[in-house]
Symmetry: C2
Subunit: 334 residues, 2 copies
């Protein structure tokens, strides 16, 4: 199988290649693609350097699976080209997620949606993925009605330059030296920015809309009520989400723990008496979405709160994309 | 007037003395008190060194106002002693806040509760203060029904040793060196801990109960439904709170902005198009509670979300305590 990775030099693209390797995805030929300015660079795959090519229509010829993580603009331009050339595109950008004909898939939740794909499958937003992975097993039992999600998102979601920016910004505070941000509108070191993506005219950010719209689409709950506040926190890698979820039926914290312990892709880390709860600082490089601090809300009927942590580069991006590839294979859709 | 500050060598105690100075509180004699181990230290007040004494029953003789910030245990022990000696105690700990006979006061909201004091007045929890300062003006207009608050609390709330801990923890990550936390159960540098205060057997923390119970008491809303997730973020000073609040009556974001702009102690910082919203990294040393990102929740009736930032050492502690002293004076209660 020929597998293209478009955005191969980015944080998520590199993670995609690592995940393909680790999971022994049946790659016969890897085709690393990037914008023309990365032409001639090379990436490591299975211990060998593979040359990166600039994206072009020709590059997708004979490609079976194309994992895209090159941003919304390039996805809008190149995903239809790749699909037309016969590849199935799994797109990590937000460009196609809400398109009616494009499945938006978390393989643990709605793999059946892959059946209707027409060449493009969308990988959901990072913080949305980890939130719905934790919610879906509870929803199946107790019927989810509404959701308040407050995200604590690491800088890795912005890309590799943001990792340097957090380091520089933090050092400037520690060393009391002057420094000017380039990536974020304000210094991110020892600060929290309640701002991810552009604001609409109602004052809601793109990132907040993603949580609202994508969770409805993935969970097949068009009437699910969602509130989201998305923030950027001074953490290198791994997102946290504080979730408060109301269900139609009662669900005890222990029932929720049992359901989550049996759920694929979830690790319950919930023993507060031993100071055990999910931590963003420890989740980098790991696959499962961790859920902890599961508790009943005393003032709200049938409502649980919990804390969800995931590696935004793995389950929030590269891992979920490769899992979509695996699910496509299993279903004979590739 | 003789004014005692018990906990004079701590972060909040020192801030209390600074606020007394800045606001020209009519202090004739300052009596700095601390635990016996700080006996013999001195603190600066109005440019002069004043000797710190170990706390004792005798120390409160002739004291008119005693500002306490020495922790719950010492407050439980010494507040009744000071009150018995004739002082009015304004206590920053959580020891007395929920006691029926003790007013829990934010002077912008419920100064009338001071009238019933019997020698002890409680200063509310830091994150609760900034949340209710933002909510009260909206409640008066639209009647608050329920509230989901997710806090982003800085380490200054833990005390001066936690400031060093955040610095050391952060440097250990940046320098890739080993380091063991002393104050928090996990490294706080580039991490988020969903854990402030002890857990009860339902998995709710003390800090979360404070938000639930104290906001009901301050706002005189015994039936207010409150959900809280309290987290510690790697920020030196200044707390953030993501608030989603449901009201009985409709309230537009612009009406909310107008109400908050007219409200005492509030600064509306809300121009997302210009990247203007409250930032924890900038709030240290300032008095007003800043509110921004005020928006309507599209899926929930009569519901607004917003982002509230305040200096936890000023309005969240020392400033509110001194303002209580001022309100006591104005009402002839001192």
């Amino acid at each position: 199988m020929r597998v293209a990775v478009f955005g191969a030099t980015g944080l998520v693209g590199r993670e995609m290649m690592r995940v393909l390797e680790e999971r022994n995805f049946p790659v016969d030929e890897l085709v690393p693609l990037a914008s023309p300015r990365s032409e001639g660079k090379s990436v490591l795959f299975r211990g060998e350097a593979v040359e990166v090519h600039g994206v072009s229509g020709k590059a997708f010829e004979g490609v079976d699976l194309a994992l895209f993580s090159a941003g919304g603009g390039p996805s809008r331009e190149w995903a239809p080209v790749a699909a037309e050339a016969g590849a199935v595109v799994v797109d990590n950008s937000s460009a196609w997620r809400m398109a009616e004909e494009v499945p938006l898939v978390v393989p643990e939740i709605n793999p059946e949606d892959l059946e209707k794909h027409r060449g493009i499958v969308a990988n959901p937003n990072c913080s949305t993925i980890q939130t719905v992975v934790a919610l879906a097993p509870l929803h199946r039992k107790a019927v989810l009605r509404s959701l308040v999600a407050v995200t604590f998102q690491s800088v890795a979601g912005t890309g590799s330059a943001a990792l340097r920016e957090l380091e520089e910004s933090s050092r400037s505070v520690l060393d009391n030296s002057s420094w000017t941000p380039r990536i974020y509108p304000h210094p991110i070191g020892f600060n929290v920015l309640p701002h991810i993506g552009d604001f609409d005219d109602q004052g809601i950010t793109q990132e907040e809309w993603k949580m609202m719209r994508e969770s409805r689409k993935i969970l097949h709950l068009p009437d699910l009520r969602v509130s989201c506040t998305a923030t950027r926190v001074p953490v290198f890698r791994g997102h946290g989400v504080a979730v408060t979820a109301a269900f139609e039926k009662p669900l005890s914290p222990q029932e929720a723990r049992n359901l989550l312990e049996a759920a694929p892709g979830v690790l319950v880390t919930d023993n507060p008496g031993e100071n055990l709860y999910p931590l963003q600082g420890r989740v980098g490089g790991t696959d499962p979405v961790q859920v902890g601090r599961i508790r009943r809300e005393p003032d709200f009927p049938n409502t649980l709160s919990f804390w969800v942590v995931g590696d935004n580069l793995r389950k929030g991006a590269a891992l979920n994309a490769v899992q979509i590839g695996e699910a496509l294979l299993e279903r004979g859709l590739l």
